[in-house]
C-alpha cells in the first residue's frame, strides 16, 4: 500500500476487493460463461500476449493454444504459475512476461 502509516486504508481496500456482491457476481458469471467471442479473434489486429498458466481449471492449456492460433501474430507464454490468477499467485513471473513482451513490441 502507498500509505504504510495508515494501515486502515489498506485494510479497507482489501475488504472492498474481498466483498462479493451476489448481483454483480451473477452478472459477471453470466457475461463470462455465456459469451463466445471465438469468431471475433481472427479480426483482432492488436499485438497480443497470451499468458497460459499451468493447471488452470478454467482455461486449460488447450485454450491458450487455440487463442494463439486464432490471434494473428500473438505470442504464447506458458507460465510456471498455476491456477487462474497469476497476477495474484505469481506476480513476479507475470510482470516479467509482460515487460518482455512490451519491450519487444517497443523495439519492433
Amino acid at each position: 500500500m502507498g500509505n504504510p502509516d495508515r494501515p486502515e486504508l489498506g485494510a479497507e481496500l482489501t475488504a472492498n476487493f474481498c466483498r462479493t456482491d451476489p448481483e454483480i457476481a451473477r452478472h459477471f458469471a453470466r457475461v463470462t460463461f455465456f459469451s463466445d467471442n471465438r469468431a471475433d479473434l481472427p479480426r483482432v489486429r492488436t499485438p497480443s500476449l497470451i499468458l497460459q498458466c499451468a493447471a488452470d481449471v478454467i482455461a486449460p492449456t488447450s485454450v491458450g493454444e487455440a487463442m494463439h492460433d486464432a490471434l494473428r501474430g500473438s505470442q504464447l507464454v506458458r507460465m510456471r504459475a498455476t491456477g487462474h490468477c497469476p497476477n495474484l499467485s505469481a506476480p513476479e513471473e507475470t510482470i516479467a512476461a509482460i515487460r518482455a513482451f512490451l519491450s519487444q513490441q517497443a523495439s519492433a
Binding site: T14, F17, C18, T20, A54, A55, D56, V57, I58, A81, T82, G83, H84, C85, L88, S89
Partner: protein, 459 residues
C-alpha cells in the same frame, strides 16, 4: 483407549501447496471423497476433489482472497467423490506465509453441511417466491393502473364526442381489454361523422339547387315582364273576380280555395299536382297596366332573392291562360299576428316575435343592398316615365319587407326607377349566396329558433 487425533475427526482437514497440490488429507476427507489417503497425497490437486463449478469458485474467489487477506471463511462448495456423488460442504482456509511474505502452504478445514445447504436452498426458494410474488403484485398493480388510465382515456373520448368533437379518433393500446368497447365507439364516431358529412353534402346540394331555382324564377320574372309589357296595354283584360276551385294551371297546379284578398291581388290555396303539396298562389286581381306588371314581376324577382327562415319562399311565377300573372309561394299555417293582440303586452311573447321580425327585415334589407341592377326593369320603367312626362312615384322598397312581415296589411309601392337613383353602386355581378356571416347566423339560429310565428310568414 486410542490416542485422540484429528485424523478421523468430524471435519475434513487438508494441507496443500499454494497451487493446490495436496500434501496431506485426513481420513475423514479421504472417506468423504472416496480417495485413498496415501495415493491422494501423491501429486493430486485439491481442485480435483471439487465439482467443476466449485473448482472454478475456488480458483477465482478463494485463491485470490487467500493471496490477498490470507484466509477465507464459510465458502459453500461441493465435494465430489470418484463415483460422481456430491457432498455439500463449508470451507475455511488459511494461507501460511514464509518469511518473505509469500504463500507457502494452504490449510483447509472442511465441514459437512448438507442440512445447512438444504436450509439455504429453502431460504433462497422462499426469497425467490417472495420476490416473484412482489413482482406479480407489481405487474397486477400496473395492469390495474393501466386499466384505470384506459377507462379514463375512454371516458375522455366519450366526453369529446359528447362535446361535438367527432374528428379525433378513439384509440387504445392494441392489447387493451377495453379495445372492443373502444372499437365500437370508434365505429360509432366514424359512422356519425360519415352521416354528418353526407348530410352536409346533401344540404349543400339542396342549397345549390335552391339558389339555381331562385335564379331561374328571377330570370323568368324578367322575361315575363318584358314579354308582357310590350303588349299589355292594349290586350290586358280585367282578371276574373274569382277562379273556380279545381281549375288547373298550366297542368301543374290545381286551385282549391281563396285564402285572402288584397287591393291588387287574390291569394288562393293551390295543390301541386305532381306531389300533392299545398302552396299559396297570388293572382293579380286588377287590370294590369304596365306599372302594376312591373311591380308584380319586381316583387317576384325580389322574393326570389330572399332566403330566410322567417320569410316566405317563392316557388314559381307564371301566367295564366288568360294572361294574368301569378306567384306561387310557400303556404304557411297558423294565425295572424293580429289575432294575438291580447298578448302584445307579454314580454315573453313579444320579444321573440320582434326578434324574428327584425331578423326577417334584416334579411330583406341585406338582399336589397345586394340586389343587382335590374336593367330590363329599369329600362322599361325609364321608358314608361319618359312617356308619362317624368312621373315620379315614391317608391320605398323597405315597405315591401314590412308589408310581407305584416301579411300584406299594407302594400308597398316599389318603383325600380327610384331605387336605381340610390347613390351607392350595386355590385355588378349577381352573387346570390347570402354572406357568410348571415349564413352562419342562420345555421346557428336553426337549432334554437322558436317556432315560426305565423304572422311572419303568412301567405
Amino acid at each position: 483407549m486410542a490416542l485422540v487425533t484429528d485424523d478421523d475427526g468430524p471435519c475434513g482437514d487438508l494441507t496443500a501447496l499454494p497451487d493446490g497440490t495436496i500434501l496431506h488429507l485426513n481420513r475423514t476427507l479421504a472417506a468423504w471423497t472416496g480417495r485413498d489417503q496415501a495415493a491422494a497425497a501423491q501429486g493430486l490437486r485439491l481442485q480435483s476433489l471439487l465439482t467443476t463449478p466449485s473448482a472454478l469458485l475456488f480458483e477465482t474467489h478463494c485463491v485470490p482472497l487467500l493471496q490477498l487477506q490470507g484466509f477465507v471463511n464459510e465458502v459453500s462448495l461441493d465435494l465430489v467423490n470418484a463415483s460422481g456423488q456430491r457432498q455439500p460442504v463449508l470451507l475455511c482456509a488459511t494461507a501460511k506465509r514464509d518469511e518473505a511474505g509469500a504463500t507457502a502452504l494452504l490449510r483447509l478445514t472442511i465441514f459437512n453441511a448438507p442440512k445447512r445447504r438444504e436450509y439455504e436452498r429453502e431460504l433462497v426458494a422462499a426469497r425467490t417466491a417472495a420476490e416473484q410474488a412482489t413482482a406479480q403484485l407489481r405487474i397486477q398493480r400496473e395492469l390495474a393502473e393501466r386499466k384505470v388510465a384506459e377507462q379514463a382515456a375512454l371516458l375522455r373520448a366519450v366526453g369529446r364526442m359528447a362535446a361535438g368533437d367527432l374528428t379525433t379518433p378513439i384509440t387504445l393500446e392494441i392489447d387493451s381489454s377495453l379495445l372492443p368497447l373502444a372499437s365500437e365507439l370508434e365505429r360509432l364516431r366514424r359512422d356519425i361523422l360519415w352521416q354528418i358529412q353526407a348530410l352536409k353534402e346533401r344540404n349543400d346540394e339542396i342549397h345549390k339547387l335552391n339558389r339555381e331555382l331562385r335564379y331561374q324564377i328571377e330570370q323568368r320574372s324578367l322575361k315575363l315582364v318584358e314579354s308582357l309589357g310590350a303588349r299589355v296595354e292594349h290586350r290586358a283584360a280585367q282578371p276574373p273576380a274569382s277562379r273556380p276551385a279545381g281549375a288547373v294551371l298550366a297542368g301543374r297546379y290545381r286551385l282549391e280555395h281563396v285564402l285572402g284578398r288584397g287591393g291588387m291581388a287574390t291569394v288562393y290555396q293551390i295543390e301541386r299536382i305532381s306531389d300533392g303539396r299545398r302552396f299559396a298562389a297570388k293572382f293579380l286581381s286588377v287590370r294590369p297596366d304596365y306599372q302594376v306588371l312591373v311591380r308584380f314581376a319586381r316583387e317576384a324577382q325580389f322574393l326570389a332573392r330572399l332566403a330566410h327562415p322567417n320569410l316566405i319562399n317563392i316557388i314559381d311565377i307564371d301566367v295564366t291562360e288568360d294572361r294574368v300573372p301569378y306567384i306561387v309561394m310557400e303556404l304557411a299555417g297558423g294565425r295572424s299576428l293580429a289575432e294575438h293582440a291580447p298578448r302584445y303586452r307579454e314580454r315573453a311573447f313579444v320579444l321573440p316575435v320582434l326578434a324574428q321580425i327584425a331578423a326577417a327585415l334584416d334579411a330583406v334589407h341585406a338582399a336589397w343592398r345586394r340586389a343587382p341592377r335590374s336593367e330590363a326593369l329599369e329600362r322599361a320603367a325609364l321608358r314608361r316615365r319618359a312617356r308619362r312626362g317624368g312621373h315620379r312615384e315614391a317608391g320605398r322598397l323597405r315597405d315591401l319587407a314590412a308589408a310581407r312581415a305584416r301579411r300584406h296589411a299594407r302594400r308597398a309601392a316599389c318603383d325600380p326607377a327610384t331605387a336605381a337613383q340610390r347613390p351607392q353602386p350595386y355590385p355588378p355581378a349577381p352573387d346570390r349566396s347570402p354572406p357568410a356571416a348571415s349564413r352562419a347566423r342562420r345555421r346557428a339560429d336553426a337549432g334554437r329558433r322558436p317556432a315560426r310565428h305565423p304572422e311572419l310568414h303568412g301567405a
